[in-house]
Amino acid sequence: MNIPSNLKYTKDHEWIKVEGNNAVVGVTDFAQSQLGDVVFIEIETQGETLAKEEVFGTIEAVKTVSDMFMPVGGEVLEVNPILADQPDIVNKDPYGEGWMIKMKISNPTELDELLTPEQYKEVTNE
């Protein structure tokens, strides 16, 4: 299972890549492999400011529906435009082309509560 060392993670299988005050958020390789073929992604929170662990969107595989949660609080700036027509990009490239949202971080101290790659690896082994 691919768990890049330059990212932070949540127990709900989101990853976050911090770039200054902003961040990119997606779901992990483990998440996409557990979901199977992703067929629909719905993110309608662009422009909204959400708290940490609030739902920012929904990801649907053939058989299941999962909510996606904010790793930290902040404003949803941008939704990956590719997802509407090619949701399966998440299966192919979860950490790259398959990113979900770009966001502005409200409170950077919340980043300290996220999981390190090592800690996330343990979550996936449970």
């Binding site: 629909f40 649907e60 053939v62």
Partner: protein, 369 residues
């Protein structure tokens, strides 16, 4: 948890496994969409060894089956298969099943894995009234069979390589007991749960390895792939086949489930629930199981509510998915009287929205919106 004779192959092939009806079963291998499309266009193989098999034998077998199943067993001939259901005496359905006529006094019933114990108890209880004894005229052979469903437009052509008996020209819903794949005798049945054509092959557990290997060798040139339970569900739903537990259950009548075609009120066939269901047929029911395709973008799921244009609740989704063929949401659900006409617009409650859908006939993946 039990293994089927093929579980080791699923694990070896890297399938995602999960418990289903007490068995360790493959959910998917290469991905539900890929497996699904393989079955629609070429040939795919399902391990369905978890299904249950029951023998009913003796001079009273026909009368007994005419009583405990809804379809007309007297219409069967040797080598013919029939889709049917067990009415439960309370207006609902114990299970749906296949009835095979081996000869006038020997029948082979194939039942759902999740219902084996329930069905067997029901069959034995009803059998008492006919003097049929478990272990004698009634026999639960569920643990003795291995079964593969080989489905898709190229399935029969590929399987023809494994036997001298003609199988490519077999009629839909017929079977033969034949030597196959080096096995002395299998039940070769042109049935399935995909609407894609093909066959289901039953053999003794001891012959399972031979069957698996031969089937994949024969299908290699046609692009054969193993298929899991995930695609089994999307394939059956696209063609509108009921799934027991979702679309039909102990409380649904065969008539409201659209199974009037397997419910035969012929003279002399006094089956369980006959009076109630005959009334349903004559007087109509208050709800009806219908299929639909999403017009708006969204995926219907089991238990989502169905609404009319004014926002009144008129039903509930029993099965739903994204169609891997049409890439649209499709589903089935019970819809209130007055709202179930083909072509009618309905609305599915998906999260906080009510999304537009249209009632259509199966196959749902070919429906136009």
């Amino acid at each position: 948890m039990k293994n089927t004779p093929f579980t080791k192959y699923h694990i070896e092939l890297g399938a995602r496994m999960a418990p289903f009806a007490g068995y360790n079963m493959p959910i998917e291998y290469s991905g539900i969409n890929d497996e699904h499309i393989t079955v629609r266009e070429k040939i795919g193989v399902f391990d369905v060894s978890h299904m249950g098999e029951v023998w009913v034998k003796g001079p009273k077998a026909l009368d007994f089956l005419q009583t405990i199943t809804s379809n007309d067993v007297s219409a069967l001939f040797d080598g013919k298969v029939q889709y049917s259901c067990f009415p439960n005496g309370k207006g609902g359905i114990v299970d749906d099943l296949l009835v095979y006529r081996i000869n006038a006094e020997t029948y082979f019933l194939v039942i759902n894995a999740a219902n084996i114990e329930k069905d067997w108890n029901w069959i034995c209880e009803q059998g008492k009234k006919f003097g049929l004894t478990p272990g004698k005229e009634l026999y639960n052979a569920s643990e003795e069979f291995a079964q593969l469903a080989i489905q898709g437009p190229l399935a029969l052509k590929a399987m023809q390589k494994l036997t001298k008996e003609n199988v490519v020209d077999m009629e839909y819903y017929t079977f033969k007991k034949i030597p196959f794949a080096g096995i002395k005798e299998v039940i070769f049945s042109t049935t399935g749960y995909t609407g894609a054509g093909g066959c289901e092959v039953y053999c003794a557990k001891e012959d399972a390895d031979k069957l698996w290997k031969a089937v994949f060798e024969a299908g290699a040139e046609y692009g054969i792939k193993p298929v899991g339970l995930g695609a089994r569900d999307t394939l059956r739903l696209e063609v509108g086949f009921c799934l027991y537990g979702n679309d039909i259950n102990d409380t649904t009548s065969a008539i409201e489930a659209g199974l009037g075609w397997i419910t035969k009120f012929v003279p002399g066939k006094n089956f369980i629930n006959r009076d109630l269901w005959e009334k349903h047929k004559k007087e109509g029911t208050t709800r009806r199981l219908k299929g639909f395709v999403m017009i708006d973008r969204g995926i219907p799921r089991q238990h989502y509510k169905i609404y009319d244009a004014e926002g009144n609740e008129i039903g509930e989704v029993t099965s739903g998915t994204m169609s891997p063929m049409s890439k649209r949401g499709i589903g089935m659900g019970y819809i209130k009287k007055g709202f179930w006409n083909d072509g009618a617009e309905i609305f599915i409650g998906i999260r906080d929205k009510k999304l537009k859908a249209k009632i259509v006939k199966p196959p749902f993946h070919l429906a136009t919106v």
